[in-house]
């Protein structure tokens, strides 16, 4: 899919995703080694965006499995369409059992769910397993099977093996420790907060109308806030939101009034707001 790490960076940038060196290297390796990519990091640093960008670059279809507590095999893998099977049986009352049986367990009655969808077919696909940590431990066992061999066994149909392996991205917010076995099968990538320079480029890309010097100031303020040991540090998504806000307010440069009025865009806890105001001397007016 990619020829070099620089190629990854350049093409992801075309798709509107500015990748750090670490991200580009790991994506390149995931492609070359054919291993799933496990992405961890705080909320709002672009974990899901990465999968979308890779799909766009590769011209692949994005198949998304959103995990939640209680997601199970029938939501993740496949399910038989019971209602349709019942209809089929009652429609053909004169059939022998053998005829009916082979018929109702055929492709027509199979509801494919994301994992099976990603494996079947010849077109390139990117499988995004989002918020893997929200799923129960049993689902991890299922993932292990699918991700190591890229095959799924449906008892009535036989084993379905991927003719073309999808590019797999798993994301996690680390609210639960994923099992060691799952981690072993994946390349691990931690996306943290970007370097100042990269974040400035991201802001400029996402908020094109923003003045260069203002973008610089925005990123510097966010950088200082992150160093403050807050309960919830502002993420890249918040930086971009803040830039949008400033643009909408028509602010030309940062000053106390503007920052104080818009601090709520960046910080989501009242004690964080208080702490930041104190440290930034906002009350010195």
């Amino acid at each position: 899919m990619f020829t070099s790490v620089d190629d990854v960076s350049a093409r992801l940038a075309e798709a509107g995703y500015l990748a750090s060196r670490a991200v580009a290297t790991t994506v390149f390796l995931a492609d070359r080694l054919g291993k799933p990519l496990l992405v961890e990091g705080p909320a709002g640093v672009g974990k899901t965006e990465l999968a979308k960008a890779v799909a766009e670059v590769a011209g692949a279809r994005l198949v998304r499995l959103q995990c939640y507590e209680g997601v199970d095999e029938s939501r993740a893998l496949y399910e038989w369409n019971h209602a349709k099977q019942l209809l089929r049986i009652s429609a053909g009352r004169d059939e022998t059992w053998d005829e009916a049986r082979t018929d109702i367990f055929s492709e027509e009655f199979l509801l494919t769910r994301p994992l099976l969808t990603a494996i079947r077919g010849d077109d390139p696909k990117v499988l995004l397993i989002d918020e893997t940590d929200k799923a129960d431990v049993e689902v991890e066992g299922l993932l292990l099977e699918v991700l190591s061999d890229f095959q799924v066994t449906v008892p009535e149909l036989g084993t379905i093996t991927a003719t073309r392996r999808p590019f797999v991205v798993l994301t996690s917010n680390a609210s639960r420790e994923l099992s060691e076995a799952l981690r072993r099968r994946c390349l691990f990538l931690h996306i943290g907060f970007p370097e100042e320079e990269l974040e400035r480029r991201i802001v400029r890309l996402k908020v094109p109308g923003l003045d260069e010097t203002l973008a610089r100031s925005v990123v510097r303020v966010v950088g200082t806030l992150r160093a403050m040991d807050l309960r919830k540090e502002p993420s890249v998504a918040e930086t971009v939101d803040w830039a949008h806000t400033l643009l909408a307010l028509g602010a030309e440069s940062l000053d106390e009034t503007v920052v104080r009025a818009t601090l709520g865009v960046l910080l989501k806890h009242q004690d964080d707001v208080l702490k930041a105001s104190a440290k930034l001397d906002l009350d010195a007016l």
């Binding site: 670490a22 080694l33 291993k35 004690d271």
Partner: protein, 452 residues
Amino acid sequence: MTTQAGVAERLTSLVGALRAHGVRIGTGETVDAARAVGELGLADRELLREGIAATLLHGPAQRQVFDAVFDLYFPRGVGGPEQPAAGREELRDRLADALAADDRAMLGRLAIEAVDGFGGYGSSPESDGWSSYQALERLRPQTLMARVRDTVRGQGGATGFTDRLLEDEIRRRIDAFRALVAAEARRRVAERRGRDEIARRAVAPTADRLDFLFAGQDRLAELRRTVQPLARKLATRLAARRRRAARGAIDLRRTLRGSLSTGGVPMKPVLRARRPARPELVLLCDVSGSVSGFSDFTMLLVQALHDQFSKVRVFAFVNRIDEVTGLLEHGRADPEGLGARIQAEAAVTGYHGSSDYGMALGEFAERYADAAGSRTTVFVLGDARTNRSDPNLPALRQIAERARRVHWLNPEQRSRWGTGDSVAPAYAELVEMHECRNARQLSALVARLLPV
């Protein structure tokens, strides 16, 4: 290191060093790392670092150890810089310029020169070495603050509002430079003493394996930042245990109602949800100097878990006991100042300042007897070093009789229990005592011992 065999050997020793630091790496991952090296080539060191990290590591906590070890096994270069080191003043001038411009590459080069020029000590081959402390002491980068600030201001790099951020930013750059110097000094020492030994001894352990009793201020701060994520993990684990424990009797009405969609055949039995009886928790924490790092961390952790329990009460003591539940309340909890606030606002010391478990336990049994009931689990946190005073075993026995369970978490290693003024073995006969030396042990214990 350009030969194939050389790289393979280097990679396996790197893996060996990481394993020695408790990072679990299988052979499969090592092979993947080798394939990654093959794909990426050896030309770009930072690519190599990211590639090997992606294949070998499984979590962000291991990254710090990895970076330090990587620097030893895949060093930036060999030996010192080519040209002889510049004088102290000249180096400071260049450092000030690099800090003002935030030039990372230049800072890296300056760190090399600083260690080479000012970090060497000793003259005989056995006793000489490289010290980052000495280099930084001679160079004193922190004193450049005012100068760098004025330079940046002079260039008009900071005007208006962002001007107030400048000092913090420069401070962070200086800290980054200090880290670079430390890494460089380790590399130079490793050249003399052998990589494997330095990798084992000079690389700091990951935060969760850090001994509570020997952690410095900065590492404790790092540890505090792990409280929230750790609490979230424990909460999910507790919720899962609770769910499993809730599997009970069949709810006939809901099973029959559900069977209507399958033609009256009850395909899925519905189980009756068990009323969750959320347990109560009482913490007795020794907050005297020697174990306060451990107590602070545990108090914060339990507070972060508070919604898992119907009631959490926290008591602190040195030689007198006082309730501090209010000081830990959500929103008020400023983790940094917790220890100081407890000392200031709660009556935890009497006539003297050293810890006395007998007095504290006795006072608890007397004044707060109602805090421990049949649904309460009590955790005592402390090293059981009671400074040769009466351990007051009857008081602990009385608490143990009233409470559902009593656990004692001791931050000292088991082999030191009972040495000196420690009365740990006597207490251990009455209640379960567990060794709890680092965050990893603590989270394992909490997950196991907390009542569901």
